[in-house]
């Protein structure tokens, strides 16, 4: 980023700059973000980001909660794709406990995680459309997020903050309705996504607003720690699903789309292509499920996986396990572990130190939004205010993840 970017004035005779408070609750920023901007006419001269408006001290709270009670905290990080966070946390604990997961559970997880990735990208891409003035695209595609939430509802009973799954698998098997809904989604969504692309991809106004705006080079992106679609838009094919496969992603055949210039248009295209790839993965996963034994939805680890309620009430063993798990009295090795998953907007990492107590000794979330966002203010220098707004939309910053 060139900080000495020339600032073009509008030949304004007044030489003083205007201070503009963009946020904390500005309607154009889709979340609680504050940027204090120095404006020269429509151009941004400099900006300072203030974050932390919805800081909820998750890392401190996590030090006082048993492993099971930390899952609801992860819901509230990137709340646009909470199942990825939930499962990322479950997989961290499973890695710590060295639990071997059945393939069927891995494939079921992959379906849910890819659906949430699609939900996440739908939000981001339709909002870029919205911010460039195309409400139609937003209305066309956004209902499919609703369909995805209906699938989540069928699987776990919740929609936004899902708390989906357990350490060791799922709380129950997917029912027939869930599979019907997934199949229906796979049939209907490609049509709508195609229509969405037809409306925007070669749209003159959209390209004028996005192509060449907020270009970022590979070196700069790496320097600033960017991950996820933002990094891939600059041309680096880093994807945690490929470089560090978890949940059997190595069994799937999919492509990692990359862009070239890292501008807003490339980010939009990368996200769109990722949605197509996610659909491919879900289809393959459904195909693979056919050859897996039916009815397996969790690993066989009674000392870590909550027993069914029926057994807790009727079986002494199950009651003991239930009590021990809920009270955090499980035998977890004293170790430290870093586990990363590919979240909706980048590498979501969990750094867990366990000292053998009931609760983690230390849990740190590597939150992609937080690390991606720090480039926003420096890269806005010299940019038009209206471009900075769509730049922020295209970075897909989620306030919950930003502030933890």
């Amino acid at each position: 980023m060139n900080h000495n970017h020339p600032v073009f004035t509008d030949n304004d005779p007044q030489e003083e700059l205007v201070t503009l408070n963009l946020g904390p609750t500005h309607p154009a920023t889709h979340g609680v973000f504050q940027n204090v901007l120095q404006m020269d006419g429509e151009r941004i001269v400099s900006g300072v980001s203030t974050v932390g408006y919805i800081h909820r001290a998750f890392e401190k709270i996590a030090e006082h909660r048993p492993f099971y009670q930390i899952t609801p905290l992860t819901d509230r990080l990137n709340y646009c794709s909470s199942p990825i966070n939930n499962m990322g946390w479950h997989m961290t604990v499973e890695k710590l406990l060295k639990i071997e997961m059945p393939k069927r559970v891995d494939y079921l997880r992959v379906i849910i995680m890819e659906l949430s990735r699609i939900a996440d990208h739908i939000i981001c891409n339709t909002i870029i459309g919205q911010d460039t003035g195309a409400t139609t695209t937003f209305l066309y595609l956004f209902q499919f997020r609703e369909h995805i939430y209906e699938i989540f509802e069928e699987v776990c009973g919740a929609r936004l903050t899902t708390n989906i799954g357990r350490i060791g698998g799922f709380e129950r098997d997917f029912n027939e309705v869930a599979f019907t809904k997934i199949n229906k989604f796979l049939k209907e969504f490609p049509v709508a996504l195609k229509e969405f692309e037809n409306l925007l991809n070669r749209n003159r106004i959209f390209i004028d607003r996005t192509a060449g705006v907020a270009e970022v080079g590979k070196e700069t992106a790496l320097d600033y720690g960017w991950t996820g679609p933002l990094l891939r838009a600059t041309g680096i094919d880093y994807d945690v699903r490929v470089s560090d496969p978890y949940s059997s992603y190595q069994d799937f055949d999919f492509e990692v789309p990359v862009g070239t210039s890292g501008d807003i248009y490339d980010r939009y295209l990368v996200r769109n292509e990722e949605m197509w790839q996610s659909l491919r993965i879900i289809e393959q996963s459904l195909e693979k499920l056919k050859s897996e034994p039916k009815g397996i939805f969790h690993a066989d680890v009674p000392e870590f996986y909550l027993p069914p309620k029926q057994e807790v009430y009727n079986n002494m063993e199950a009651l003991i396990y239930h009590f021990k798990i809920v009270m955090g009295e499980i035998d977890a090795p004293k170790a430290e572990i870093y586990h990363a998953v590919e979240g909706g907007n980048g590498e979501l990492g969990f750094y867990l130190i366990n000292d053998g107590g009931r609760t983690p000794y230390r849990l740190h979330f590597r939150r992609p939004s937080f690390i991606n966002y720090q480039m926003f203010a420096p890269m806005s220098e010299g940019m038009l205010l209206s471009d900075a707004i769509i730049n922020m939309s295209s970075m897909n910053i989620i306030a919950g993840e930003l502030d933890a």
Binding site: G52, E59, H64, P66, Y338, H364, R366, I371, A404
Partner: protein, 166 residues
């Protein structure tokens, strides 16, 4: 198993360069971890980035061990994207004078990560361009992730920390 030989190579190269300054090498869950000291941390990170290809700074954070002499561990996670290796570097610093050289000169990404670590643990990163609190309010007065600060108001009788594990 490939991972282990790769880690061994990195370990050998690090010891060649920094000798006794690379200590407590371990490999928990396949992730090479070692401890180094404040006087060489800047050079270690530079060496890892430029010579050993760890071009990506994944994370900086800290851990507080109140019972230890050097009670604050600053933890760096680096990633070599080409060879797909991760590495963890730790530096233990004294709780009374928690200072460590900044990594912002090596990676710009370190800026907010160090501000977050300062905010929560009070670690002073020397040479940081803008070391202010980031998530908490400016006049908080304490660094809340240190273990001596309880989660709940200690005067409450209905919600004590021991009910929740710690």
């Amino acid at each position: 198993m490939e991972q282990t030989t790769l880690n061994n190579d990195i370990h050998v190269k690090l010891v060649e360069k920094f000798g006794e300054k690379v200590t407590a090498v371990s490999e928990p869950y396949g992730l090479l971890t070692f401890v180094t000291y404040t006087d060489v941390i800047h050079n270690v990170l530079l060496h890892l980035k430029n010579e050993l290809n760890f071009n990506f700074l994944t994370d900086i954070t800290a851990v507080h061990y109140p019972e230890k002499d050097h009670g604050i561990a600053v933890v760096y996670h680096l990633n070599n994207m080409v060879e797909r290796v991760r590495i963890r570097v730790k530096v233990f610093i004294a709780e009374k004078h928690p200072t460590i050289p900044t990594a912002t000169t090596i990676w710009k990404a370190a800026n907010w990560m160090e501000r977050e670590t300062y905010d929560f643990f009070g670690v002073k990163f020397e040479g940081h361009p803008d070391l202010r609190r980031i998530l908490n309010m400016d006049d908080l007065g304490v660094h809340p992730m240190l273990k001596q600060y309880p989660l709940e108001d200690p005067n409450r009788v209905d919600k004590k920390d021991e009910f929740f594990g710690r």
